[in-house]
């Protein structure tokens, strides 16, 4: 896809071996879902590129009959998002359902009309999480994550909301790599090319809200995180100090969203510290 190629020309080091990464993600996704004792997976489908890619990977890993897509619009969600989600559902042929979250969200905020957009957005994200986990028990389907590496690092997500899942196949992919892989897996073009948005209010886009472009922040994070460049080395790559301060600040400030709840140590075998087992532990 031309748009993707143009992006990757600016940062060729972000280009993945698409076929290989697809094999890694789908084979481990399938194996881990089965080891967890589940036949099926469930995920929220917003109409955006991230959840679409998770859907396509899940279908490739498990087959369309083992994947359930859930659309959970709020009354202010853009109708085009709902239509894009429908497009992905039709294209993959998975089972789907639509649950309008407007009644419970509006009921909750009725007595708090002054609630900020941030609170409303977080509440919606957690409502959707809550629905997915409820349906997970009903359908015996594991919840699949849809957060990419860029947004996890930036903390551009709601803790215990959209960042919650049992397995996340996207969490180690930069947003630019999500785009590359989505194109490779034939996610509908309009989902790939539209501006990414959390779709919490009209005309919201990630890049407007964050104040920078994904390709720029991916380039920066690659050199800072993966290559461990110092500030001096990053400056030589023409990254502006104000941009670096902003991004580094976000990444560090949001570390709490990437960790399990802190458990204050009292005993010699504390969960997460010296009680150490993988989830694969079967005794």
């Amino acid at each position: 896809m031309k748009v993707i190629d143009e992006l990757l020309e600016q940062a060729p080091y972000l280009r993945l071996d698409e076929r290989l990464v697809t094999t890694i993600l789908t084979s481990t996704l399938r194996e881990e879902v089965e080891k967890a004792g589940f036949d099926r997976v469930i995920l929220g489908l917003s109409g955006g590129i991230d959840s679409a890619l998770s859907l396509y990977l899940a279908v490739k890993a498990l087959g369309k009959d083992r994947v359930i897509a859930v659309r959970m619009p709020y009354r202010m969600s853009s109708p085009s998002s709902l239509a894009d989600a429908e497009l992905a559902i039709e294209d993959t042929g998975v089972e789907s359902m639509t649950i309008d979250i407007t009644p419970q969200i509006d009921a909750y905020f009725e007595s708090m009309p002054g609630a900020s957009p941030l609170r409303r957005g977080n509440k919606m994200a957690r409502e959707r999480m809550s629905i997915l986990y409820d349906l997970s028990a009903d359908y015996r389907a594991l919840v699949i994550g849809t957060s990419n590496r860029t947004e996890l690092l930036l903390g551009y997500g709601t803790q215990y909301g959209d960042t919650a899942s049992a397995i996340n196949p996207l969490g180690d992919l930069w947003k630019t790599q999500v785009r590359q892989l989505a194109a490779y897996l034939n996610v509908p073009e309009q989902i790939i090319t539209k501006p990414p948005s959390a779709d919490l209010w009209e005309d919201q886009t990630d890049e407007k809200e964050l104040g920078f472009r994904y390709i720029d922040v991916d380039r920066f994070l690659y050199f800072w995180i993966d290559r461990r460049y110092t500030r001096e080395q990053l400056q030589k790559l023409s990254f502006q100090d104000s941009f670096m301060d902003q991004v580094m600040g976000r990444v560090i400030r949001n570390q709490f969203k990437r960790t399990m709840p802190m458990i204050i140590k009292v005993n010699p075998r504390t969960v997460g510290i010296d009680f150490r087992y993988l989830r694969d532990w079967k005794g």
């Binding site: 290989l20 990464v21 094999t23 993988l278 694969d280």
Partner: protein, 285 residues
Amino acid sequence: MRIGIAQMRPQLGRLEQNIENHLKLINKAKEKQVDLLVFPELSVTGYHLFDITFDVARRLTSAEIQMLIQQADGIDVVFGFVEHSSDHYFYNSAVYASHRRLTHLHRKVYLSTYGTFHETRYFGTGKSVRSFSTRFGQLGLLISEDAWHFSLPYLLAMDGAELTIVLSNSIVNGVTKEGILTHQKWKTLLTSHAMGYGNFSLFANRVGSEDNFSFYGGSFIVDPFGEIVTEAPVFQEELMILDLDMDQVRQARFQTPLLRDEKINLTIRELQRIRQKQTDGGENR
């Protein structure tokens, strides 16, 4: 000699299941007239054991390990397990069994503890590396990280190894447009060993996942000229079989007699000098 690599999928901490799988693969290899079957690192237990290490460690004399050694009947077998030593330390160990007896035990010397690896937290370090005689010639065992320290394959070659067997549990830890980074590096590494020492090098890796880690397989064998002669697919279980002509070692070493010309006394002398320098400099390794 017909060699087999069991590119298998161990289940984490499931000793019974894994041993059963070993038996199946050994029988399958026997049917195919394999002379030597190699399993990957920690094939009996799985890799990311963490606290499970305590539960799955077994003595060499335990019923489970002895039962596996007994399978080396008409076939030689190499496998990996967590060894519980007589002084109650745990080792990441590999067994070479032949004629229903233990021929050689190797304890991993260089435990990986950086990045995503935590081995020294759980395992003691092996203290020696030796080649040993088999009906196919002189062999050596290394476990994964061991092979990345150039001294160990060097010592094995100097000790006469004509075939160096590397048991591994290598995971995806970087993907570029050229493929799996670590897999490429393993190939570079072992082809270099083979070229430098004129011996066969064998890489036995596992497949399957443990939580978020993906083992990629891609086991391979390098001939004494440094050519990869066979390579298993990635991400697939496979019993890879190849007939090795051990006489190629003779041919390679005549063509390029690097090992013959190796100046062992110079190496020892210089290493002693370097050790002295480090001691004098306050660095004592």
